[in-house]
Symmetry: C2
C-alpha cells in the first residue's frame, strides 16, 4: 500500500467493490441467465467480498467436481469402461484362454447380455486385466495413445472434446476467484491425470479418484511403480468424503456432481460452517446430449435429486440452463447430433454397446 | 507485455537475468556458506532460469520433505509417539482392563523395557487405542489441545517450536521460486495437518502421511468421518513413492529426508529426467540438537547415507552447515541446551523415556 493517505483511501474503496459480479457476466457466457447462473455468481461474490459476512479466505476456497457426467459425457458408457473393453481386444491374441473365460469371452464375442451376467466379479476382472500388470508410466502411455485415437460412438469426436463448455467456464471462473478446483471421481486417478490439466486446467495433484495398489520396485536398478491387480480404493459414494478428507484435509465450500454417487460429497460439503454451494447437473437434453436420471444405471440421479430439492441445492437443467453444451469446435450445436433417443428408463444399461463404434439403439 | 517494442525488449532482458542467486544469499541466512548451501542455490537457480538448459516449468517444481528429523526434532521419541503415550494415560481411568493388558500396563507403569517387548503388535494397539474411535474433527481438537500444552523433555519448549530454522528458510526459499512444497511423512497425516500451515507454511492439502481408515456416517443426520482402529496406509520407505504417485501424480524434482525411511523417496526423485536434487539431514550435533545415524532406532541413517555418498546426493552436516538450529525465540543457541548425551549407538532406544517430562539418561 502507498504511503499517501488519500491514495490509500481510494485504493481501499476500490478494493472493497465486488468486481466479481460484473466480471462473471463474461466469465460464464455459455450459461443462460437463470437461477443456476445467478446462484453461482451470488455465491462467488459472497465468499470473495472482503469484509462481507460470508467472506472465505482464499486458502479455504476448495471446490470439488465429480467427473463423469458432471464435467464430460458419461453415456452411453463410462469412457474408462470403453478403454477397458478396447484393451481386452488388443490383448486378446496373447490370452488364448480368454476365448472361454468370462468376462473376456463375452467381450470378445460382443455379447452384451452375457457380459452383464458376469456382474461385479466380471467387472473387477475386466478392470484388473486391462489396468494392472504394467508400470504407472506404461499405463499413462496406454491412456494417452488410446485417447488420441478413440472416438465417441455418437458424437464422432475424441472423448476429450466432450467436456461440457459451461463447466469449463465455471472451473475457470472459480480459479479466477482464487478457488482451488479439484476433481473427485469414481474413475481411476491414473486414467484421468494424463489429460485433466489440458482439458480442465486441473493439475494432476488436484485429481482424486479410484486407485489400484501400486508397488515400488527396482527394475535393473531403476525405480518403477508397478500397478497391481488389486483394488486400493473406490472413490464413490461414501468414499468421496473419505477421499476428500484424506487427500485435501479441508472441507470443500463448493461441490458439483450429477448422480447419487455424489450425494455424500454434497452432504459433507453442506455440513460445514459458513457459505456453501452444492450443485447437480441434471441431464435433461436428449437432443444436444442425453436425458437420464432416476432409472439410468450410469449416472443414476434419484436420491440426490430428492435431497437437492428438499435442501435447496442448485439443480442445473442442462436443456434450460446451458446455452451450449460443448465447445466452439462443435460449430452450431446440433449439427453433429443425430439423437439416438434418451437412455433414461433403461435399467441395467451400463454394459451396453460393447464397441466404441456401435451406437446403442433403444432397448 | 507493453506494446512499446523498446520497453518490451528491456523487460525481456530484465526477466532473463537470474535473480535467484543474489536473493538466495538472504533467503538462507541460517545456513553457513558451504557445499550444501551452494548446491541448493545452484539447483534453484538452474531450474528457474528461463531458457536455461535445466529450466523446469513452475507447475513441475514439486519438492517433498520428510517431517520427523528433517523438519523438526524426532529425538528422543517421535512426537506423535509421546502424544499416544499421554493419550493412554488420559484415557486410563475409563479402561480398568489396561492395568493388566499390554501394551497399556507397561505404559501406565512407565516400564520401558516391558513396553518395548510388546513389539510391533503393542505399537499398533497403542496407536489404535489412542488415535481411533473418534471423528476426524474430534481428533484434530485432541492434537491441537495436546500441542498447546506438551513440552519437549530436553528443550522445554512446545514441539512446534522445534522446527529447524534452516529448513523453514529452505521451504520459504523454494516457494518464493514457485515450488510447491509437500510433506511426505511416516507420521499420521491428521496429526500433522492441524499445525503444518502455521509452522511450515505447508497447507493441509500438501501434507501426505500415514492414515487410519475412516468411515462416513450420518450422526443425528449430520455427516461425520469416524476414525477406525484399522491401518489404511503406512507412508514410509517404499510407501513414500507409492504415496507421492497417488497423491501428487507428479515426480518431485527436489526431495529431502534424514533416514533410511526416505531412501525410496530419494531414489524415485533421482530417477526422473532433467535436473534433480536429493538431500539428507545428517544429525551430527549433540550439543545443539542430537547426534545419531547408523545405530539409532529412531531415524536410522545407514543405507541412505551410503547411497547418498555413492551418488553425490547432498548430505547436510548439521553441525557444520547450520548457523543455528532453531528459531529466534531460542535466543543465542546453546543457552537452553543441557546436552544429555548423544543418542547414537543406542539400538532399541525408540521407546525410551515414557513421559514427556523425563529426560532420558544414557543407557
Amino acid at each position: 500500500m502507498t504511503g499517501n493517505p488519500i491514495i490509500t483511501a481510494v485504493l481501499l474503496v476500490l478494493m472493497s467493490i465486488p468486481l466479481t459480479r460484473s466480471r462473471a457476466a463474461d466469465a460464464l457466457p455459455s450459461w443462460n441467465d437463470g437461477a443456476a447462473k445467478q446462484a453461482i455468481i451470488q455465491f462467488v461474490t459472497d465468499v470473495t467480498t472482503a469484509g462481507g459476512r460470508k467472506f472465505v479466505p482464499a486458502a479455504e476456497r476448495i471446490a470439488t467436481f465429480d467427473n463423469d457426467g458432471t464435467l464430460w459425457v458419461e453415456q452411453p458408457m463410462y469412457t474408462q469402461f470403453v478403454f477397458a473393453l478396447d484393451r481386452v481386444k488388443t490383448l486378446a491374441p496373447q490370452h488364448p484362454e480368454w476365448k472361454t473365460n468370462e468376462p473376456f469371452a463375452s467381450i470378445l464375442k460382443g455379447d452384451r447380455k452375457a457380459l452383464m451376467a458376469t456382474g461385479e466379479k466380471g467387472l473387477v476382472e475386466l478392470i484388473m486385466a486391462s489396468h494392472a500388470g504394467m508400470t504407472t508410466a506404461e499405463f499413462e502411455s496406454l491412456v494417452r495413445d488410446w485417447l488420441a485415437k478413440a472416438q465417441h460412438p455418437r458424437f464422432k469426436r475424441p472423448y476429450t472434446e466432450l467436456a461440457y463448455q459451461p463447466m469449463l467456464e465455471l472451473l475457470a471462473y472459480l480459479r479466477a476467484n482464487d478457488f482451488k478446483t479439484y476433481i473427485v471421481s469414481g474413475g481411476g486417478v491414473e486414467f484421468m491425470r494424463p489429460w485433466t490439466e489440458n482439458v480442465y486446467g486441473v493439475p494432476p495433484e488436484q485429481v482424486i479418484g479410484s486407485t489400484v495398489k501400486t508397488k515400488f520396485e527396482l527394475r535393473d536398478d531403476k525405480p518403477a511403480l508397478m500397478r497391481l491387480p488389486e483394488v486400493d480404493f473406490i472413490d464413490d459414494k461414501a468414499g468421496k468424503p473419505v477421499a476428500i478428507n484424506k487427500f485435501i484435509g479441508r472441507r470443500p465450500i463448493f461441490a458439483f456432481g450429477n448422480s447419487d454417487g455424489d450425494l455424500e460429497m454434497l452432504q459433507w460439503t453442506a455440513a460445514g460452517d459458513g457459505a456453501r454451494f452444492e450443485g447437480l447437473v441434471h441431464h435433461t437434453d436428449a437432443e444436444r446430449e442425453y436425458a437420464y436420471d432416476r432409472n439410468s444405471s450410469i449416472g443414476r440421479l434419484d436420491k440426490a435429486l430428492d435431497e437437492a430439492r428438499e435442501r435447496g441445492w442448485v439443480v442445473v437443467d442442462m436443456k434450460r440452463d446451458w446455452k451450449r453444451v460443448f465447445g466452439e469446435s462443435f460449430g452450431s450445436q446440433g449439427e453433429v447430433l443425430r439423437p439416438t433417443g434418451s437412455v433414461s428408463d433403461r435399467p441395467g444399461s451400463s454394459w451396453q454397446g460393447l464397441t466404441t463404434n456401435s451406437v446403442p439403439g433403444k432397448n
